[in-house]
Symmetry: C2
Subunit: 350 residues, 2 copies
């Protein structure tokens, strides 16, 4: 029995991958309606602070994992006292705070955008003065899909964005002028084994992932560098499971880490069609202590998200040849990820 | 909400395919422990004759389908009075009786092994005299994986097999000396659209499917003939959903129908890895009234069943590169299908 915290589409696809391997799953979510509940063997609806519910959940699971990184620290540690938890709570804690995350990556000698911690308005102005513009102010915690971030072009701008965010701890990052965005999705097993999928090129619209394309335009050397980055991060975190690392690729092929997602990643959905073992199955294999499968891809792939009301036109969008995934969410909202489509083509060298 | 009668591995994989497309599923099984229950949204454990349970089940579903053909006639008709049912009860009735099935196929002008109906001991002897030996006596109903059939080499043999089977209605078929066995798995939509997967060569051991291999050694013309056979059968049955047709391929490429499975078929499991749309998804698409997906395969494939205690060695059997499916059955029995493995290779022309 594999416990999964969070009941969104990632939890849903993890539960389906677990079922393929013969595992039962128990989803724990604090939302009353979670699209993952329909496919899990067991479901708990409770707050992440409800220790009674957490203890019951932990007692019924052989291992617990997460479909998202914004699990409260206390929850992850509480669970880890009761049941094996993968990835470990420290990895989550590192990834859920942008300043700790960037400092950790920089500490490994891996490039990131230049950044400064911003705790006060004075910090905000000084950070902008130090880095220069344009820059991006981001809350240290809880941002996703562009929420909690703003481009700033002056010290005053920066200070006022800090105020608008409610003076919560933030990080200022120098704007990186990249050629394209990419990501690397990798898995590390309990035994330290490591496997990594081909890094896709990612295209965003309105700060939301629009599509992922493999192979990316990265050179062979660039791909190898992405692999090395993912491995260094996974090993330093003593990571078990799948993690995604979002990357900026510069005009001369230089690679900088944007952020770490300590979970399966939207840019890895194409692996469901183009690889025999998907990122979801790799994650389940890793947390269950099974040997990792091969990350080889047999085809080229383009994955496209179905966002908001687009879901009403899936039939026209997908056509007969695409791999279609609909998440079964009842409420359509602008910007909400409702499903995705993957198109395959015969393989070319990366 | 898609209702599925039967809770074995086929129901389980249908439920997983339905979830991929955003559907909820309700499994109805008369077994107390069904491996499909863990992945369905709702589950009913009740007898197929329990009209109260059937009515409740029907009321909660938008459409009902089957994972196996041995649903009592009365059950299928009762359900069809309450909710759309696909495939239709007459298609089930045709396929679940070997004599009706063979007569139906022969009536379409499609080759089968020569056969005779056997209702009495006298019939048994006369049938053998008419067909000559060796021949196979099979019960008309309820056989699978070699159960309820015996090779007979004399009229006396035939009569005594009939007695051993409890004098239930039977069929005598002349033994076909085939070069290999194949099958064709096809889908027909509510709108009459038709799609068909590449026919695999099938190898049996102890009357149980051991492996399916695509492409088969069939010629292009042979493949086309398989497609035509599947289409003729599906159209004549006004079939909606996926059906499998088991075939004998003679030494000169002549094709005879062995039997019709009015459901997803074990020899179609390779489509989960080698096609973007699997047989399970095609079935769900068809019964839901959606357009069928493409049946194109992007890879060659070999599917191998994991039978009985072999499941304990899945790790060694599968290796890193295989697509692994474990059905989550608690009890291991000799001959029981516990999972399967699919290996891919780059595509060659069929």
């Amino acid at each position: 029995m594999i416990g999964i915290l969070g009941g969104g589409q990632l939890g849903r696809m993890l539960a389906l991958a677990a079922a393929k391997l013969g595992f039962r799953t128990h989803l724990y979510s604090d939302e009353t309606e979670s699209c993952g509940f329909n496919v899990a063997t067991e479901a708990t609806r409770a707050h992440f602070g409800d220790e009674e519910a957490l203890a019951r959940f932990a007692a019924g699971c052989d291992v617990v994992t997460f479909e998202f990184e914004n699990v409260p620290d206390a929850t992850a540690h509480f669970l880890a006292d009761h049941v094996p938890v993968a990835p470990n709570p420290n990895a989550l804690a590192t990834a859920q705070d942008r300043f700790i995350e960037k400092s950790f990556v920089a500490g490994l000698g891996i490039a990131t955008a230049p950044f400064r911690n911003v705790m006060t308005e004075k910090d905000a102005k000084e950070a902008f003065a130090a880095l220069g513009g344009p820059a991006v102010l981001k809350t240290r915690r809880l941002g996703y899909d562009g929420k909690g971030q703003r481009i700033v072009r002056s010290a005053e701008d920066c200070a006022s964005a800090f105020g608008d965010f409610g003076r919560v701890p933030a990080i200022l990052e120098k704007f990186v002028d990249f050629a394209f965005e990419a990501s690397v999705v990798a898995a590390r097993g309990r035994d330290g084994s490591f496997a990594v999928f081909d890094p896709p090129k990612n295209e965003h619209e309105n700060h939301i992932l629009r599509r992922s394309i493999v192979p990316s335009p990265l050179s062979e050397e660039g791909v190898r560098e992405c692999f090395d980055i993912a491995r260094a991060i996974a090993e330093a975190l003593d990571y078990v499971g799948v993690l995604g690392v979002e990357l900026f690729i510069g005009r001369n092929g230089e690679i900088a880490v944007n952020e770490i997602a300590p979970r399966v990643h939207n840019s890895g959905h194409w692996t469901m069609e183009a690889c025999v073992v998907s990122q979801f199955e790799q994650h389940i294999r890793a947390v269950a202590g099974w040997p990792l499968g091969s990350c080889e891809r047999h085809s080229n792939a383009v994955m496209e998200n179905i966002i908001g009301a687009e879901v009403e036109a899936w039939q026209a969008l997908a056509g007969r040849h695409a791999g279609l995934h609909i998440y079964g969410k009842r409420v359509v909202r602008p910007g909400r990820k409702m499903g995705h489509i993957t198109r395959l083509a015969p393989p070319t060298k990366a």
